[in-house]
């Protein structure tokens, strides 16, 4: 290896370590400001009066890597810690702690391990097959690539900033998203139940009712259609999907997100995913309209070489 290449690798490792530490590590001094609160003491999940700021949603590509284990850490956190430990142990230990689940987030060259690499995801046989298919074709048919909205937890995993706007006087909370399709969701805080039977219309974002449990905003969501994936890697879901989300703000700089994915149509038992979303002070949302000129749809061909979206009538 040339000296130049060694320099490049060392620089990259240091930067990546810093980046991971900043994105996932315990809150540093910068973000250690206490949780802001509304006048009535409820945690403020949005801006402080007079300030700007947005939630800088990270790119969570594979929720199979975000399942907390018995020690409450996720595979991504364990891999980052192991890599840091390996670096601390010296160059000879390079890679000793790596190898996250046979090609998870950040794997190079498109190598993806599919369902076999994710023992913690309780696949049913059909969802396992669909997931492996999506793994093999590199998520070619991802609905977000068609400019369709993310549904469920993927709203908090699609890397465009978002804001949470609390309106206690209206007994609702609004979440507005710059991407993937410039959408908003309304969380009813007035104690209403979900609509029943045919009154529950299947939609991309589902029907959300929320409540406060201590300092946690707990949102119960049902009524999803089947047009979205749970994540970029292509974990499927059905219209039986029921998501319970928990939002907390342990300090001003951090939104902790947790979601229980309960879909008996696709998984044998509920599974939980979690990650942190950093606050980006002084930032504002801007316009992003995915549908403007999506050439990907024009180029996309199916497994038989035919245009997915047809030549049109």
């Amino acid at each position: 290896m040339t000296r130049a290449a060694r320099v490049a690798i060392i620089v990259a490792m240091v930067i990546v370590a810093f980046w991971i530490a900043r994105a996932q590590g315990p809150a540093g001094p910068r973000s250690a400001e206490t949780t802001p609160r509304l006048a009535d003491g409820t945690p403020n999940l949005g801006r402080v009066a007079g300030e700007k700021g947005v939630w800088n949603v990270p790119y969570i590509q594979n929720m199979g890597m975000r399942i907390p284990g018995p020690d409450k850490t996720t595979a991504v956190q364990r891999a980052a810690a192991a890599a840091a430990a390996a670096r601390a142990a010296g160059a000879g230990a390079r890679g000793a702690g790596g190898g996250p689940l046979g090609g998870g987030e950040g794997a190079a060259g498109g190598a993806r391990g599919g369902s076999k690499a994710e023992p913690d995801v309780p696949f049913l046989p059909w969802s396992r097959g669909v997931y492996d298919y999506n793994s093999r074709n590199n998520s070619k048919y991802d609905p977000e690539g068609y400019c369709l909205p993310p549904g469920g937890p993927r709203l908090m995993a699609t890397p465009y900033p978002m804001e949470i706007i609390q309106q206690p006087e209206h007994k609702r909370i609004l979440m507005i998203f710059e991407g993937a399709t410039h959408i908003w969701r309304e969380i009813y805080m007035d104690g209403r139940p979900h609509p029943q039977g045919d009154e529950l219309n299947p939609t991309y974002l589902g029907h959300s009712v929320g409540r406060w449990e201590g300092d946690a905003l707990v949102v119960d969501v049902v009524g999803f259609n089947e047009n979205s994936w749970l994540d970029y890697y292509g974990h499927p879901h059905t219209d039986l999907l029921h998501v319970v989300e928990k939002f907390t703000r342990p300090d001003k700089g951090t939104l902790r997100y947790e979601a229980i994915i309960d879909d008996p149509g696709a998984y044998s038992k509920p599974w939980t995913v979690t990650w942190d979303i950093p606050w980006r002070p002084n930032a504002e949302l801007t316009e992003y309209i995915c549908q403007e000129n999506n050439r990907y749809q024009r180029r996309l061909t199916d497994d038989f070489g035919e245009p997915v979206f047809g030549s049109g009538h």
Partner: protein
């Protein structure tokens, strides 16, 4: 490949800090194992969602044949967060672009960074690659 240490470190930096914007599957269209670095003359800029595209006339050093290439970047909002405006690239500008080639072998690539020859300024292209495999 012979590479200056600082150039190599610069590329490592790019790989590490590029902000990520997702749209379609990066891996389905582009091959992260096929990096490129091309210099050419801007012929067209399409400042639009979900991806801004720009086109370069690139002359092959050996054959002198000129090919018009297309390069995909992020969306205007993401590019503006990275210091771009709709007038950053002008027709006739000479630029050097780095990124990943399309899998289908056409003269098309995903741009990760662009350097303007006139100023030497390097701008990140808000690539959809980022940490995507």
């Amino acid at each position: 490949m012979r590479m200056q240490p600082f150039a190599a470190a610069g590329i490592a930096l790019l790989l590490a800090v590029v902000p990520v914007v997702a749209h379609h599957s990066f891996s389905a269209e582009f091959d992260a194992n096929k990096p490129f670095k091309h210099t050419g003359v801007v012929t067209k800029v399409e400042w639009q969602n979900p991806h801004t595209l720009f086109y370069l006339d690139i002359t092959d050093d050996a054959t002198k044949k000129v090919t018009n290439w297309a390069f995909e970047m992020g969306s205007p909002n993401g590019l503006m967060r990275n210091g771009w405006t709709r007038n950053t690239l002008k027709i006739g500008d000479v630029v050097t672009v780095e990124g990943s080639l399309a899998r289908d072998g056409t003269p098309y690539g995903n741009a990760r960074s662009v350097v303007l020859a006139s100023s030497g300024k390097r701008l990140f292209a808000d690539s959809s690659q980022g940490a995507t495999p």
